[in-house]
């Protein structure tokens, strides 16, 4: 009897502990969001235009997946939130880079026509 009481106490204590640890629910939304953000970054050409940022995002996502499978939901949630902003950063950088390159290219083409104009103008 004493023994079964002891088991009950231990069980209750364990459950209580588990309850305290897993107060964060499984972060399904966060994982979905970070996956989508990674996809967006890849679509924006981050592989070429923001490789470092994209790598950071992927690493965090992998860590989040790891935390998820070991049921560390709070860690998984935070990591996937970070993976999402990292991926957003990769996308923003890729897009900024594209526009910057377009500006440079246009500047060069204008310069080229100008030079051509000046040269033929002075002939």
């Amino acid at each position: 009897m004493i023994r079964s009481n002891l088991i009950a106490v231990v069980l209750t204590a364990t459950l209580g502990l588990l309850g305290a640890c897993s107060s964060t629910p499984k972060p399904k939304t966060e994982i979905a969001l970070s996956n989508a953000a990674l996809q967006n970054a890849e679509n924006a050409g981050a592989e070429q235009l923001a490789p470092l940022e994209l790598r950071t995002a992927r690493e965090k996502q992998a860590q989040a997946d790891g935390a998820l499978s070991s049921k560390k939901y709070n860690t998984a949630k935070q990591l996937s939130e970070q993976a999402a902003v990292d991926a957003e950063l990769a996308k923003a950088k890729s897009e900024a880079e594209k526009s910057r390159l377009a500006v440079t290219e246009t500047e060069q083409s204008i310069q080229l026509i100008r030079t051509e104009l000046d040269r033929s103008g002075s002939q």
Binding site: A13, A20, Q78, Q82, A92, A96, S99, T106
Partner: protein, 271 residues
């Protein structure tokens, strides 16, 4: 049990802080996020172009501050500080991209304007060239024929049976030289012709010699000899009746032919 754990956290934090020798309560990542936020939010371009990202940053920063100030949760504080600082970077990049995109639009206009300018300059030049050519052709009294542009130097150039150029011919030669100077891509065929007096051989030689004389006169005026080929036609291509004095005079002539540019190569090769 829950209470015990909850109680133990601030207790533990106190212990940690004490262990660190009463270090000031601060989180580096939070401080740098706050600094980055203050820089970005004072940048009018960032605020204008990336308001929603700046809101996200503000919210994350507030969460970080709350977690630190109220609960002293370092890991959560750092998490939200990280999110905030990434959002600020995103906001700055978005602002930069939108500025570049706006510049790109005005640059496209600029490019179109410059292209237009280039095109109109080209048109002007082509018109100028055409006008210049027309004037020169008129001066040479040249005609446009199937063989190209033909300027005829009449027999006043030469005495009968002679190949030496007369003094009076120099004005006409000058006009040809001036045309060739103005249009340096043009090549010329100088063709000598005679009337039907004398033997065929004599006339052929005479027509060749006259063509050579004209060529030499052009070279003397600075035209590159490689641009000028010559041929003697003798009496075979009269332009007037050889039975009259006037007709024979017209037949004694040198024609300077400027083939059309695309015909030039084949014409010269058949020499």
């Amino acid at each position: 049990m829950k209470k015990l754990i909850k109680l133990s956290i601030p207790l533990l934090s106190c212990l940690v802080i004490t262990a660190c020798g009463g270090a000031p309560k601060k989180v580096d990542s939070l401080e740098s996020a706050q600094a980055a936020y203050s820089t970005a939010s004072s940048n009018e371009v960032v605020v204008r172009h990336a308001a929603s990202e700046m809101d996200d940053a503000r919210n994350a920063l507030a969460k970080a501050e709350k977690n630190w100030k109220n609960d002293g949760k370092r890991s959560r504080t750092e998490h939200y500080a990280y999110v905030a600082s990434q959002k600020i970077k995103i906001a700055e990049l978005i602002a930069q991209r939108k500025e570049d995109d706006a510049r790109l639009e005005t640059m496209d206009l600029k490019r179109q304007r410059v292209q237009l300018e280039a095109r109109s300059q080209e048109v002007d030049r082509a018109r100028e060239e055409a006008l210049a050519m027309q004037q020169q052709l008129e001066a040479m009294q040249a005609q446009i024929t199937a063989r190209g542009i033909v300027a005829t130097l009449g027999d006043v150039l030469f005495d009968s049976g002679e190949a030496g150029l007369k003094e009076t011919s120099s004005v006409n030669i000058d006009k040809i030289a001036s045309f060739m100077n103005r249009f340096p891509e043009r090549t010329a065929i100088v063709e000598g012709h005679t009337d039907n007096l004398g033997t065929d051989d004599f006339n052929l030689d005479l027509s060749r010699s006259r063509a050579h004389s004209v060529r030499a006169a052009l070279v003397a005026r600075g035209i590159d000899g490689s641009r000028i080929s010559t041929q003697g036609m003798g009496e075979v291509a009269p332009v007037a009746d050889n039975n009259t004095t006037q007709g024979r005079q017209q037949n004694r002539r040198v024609e300077v032919i400027f083939p059309d540019l695309d015909m030039q190569v084949s014409e010269v090769e058949t020499q």
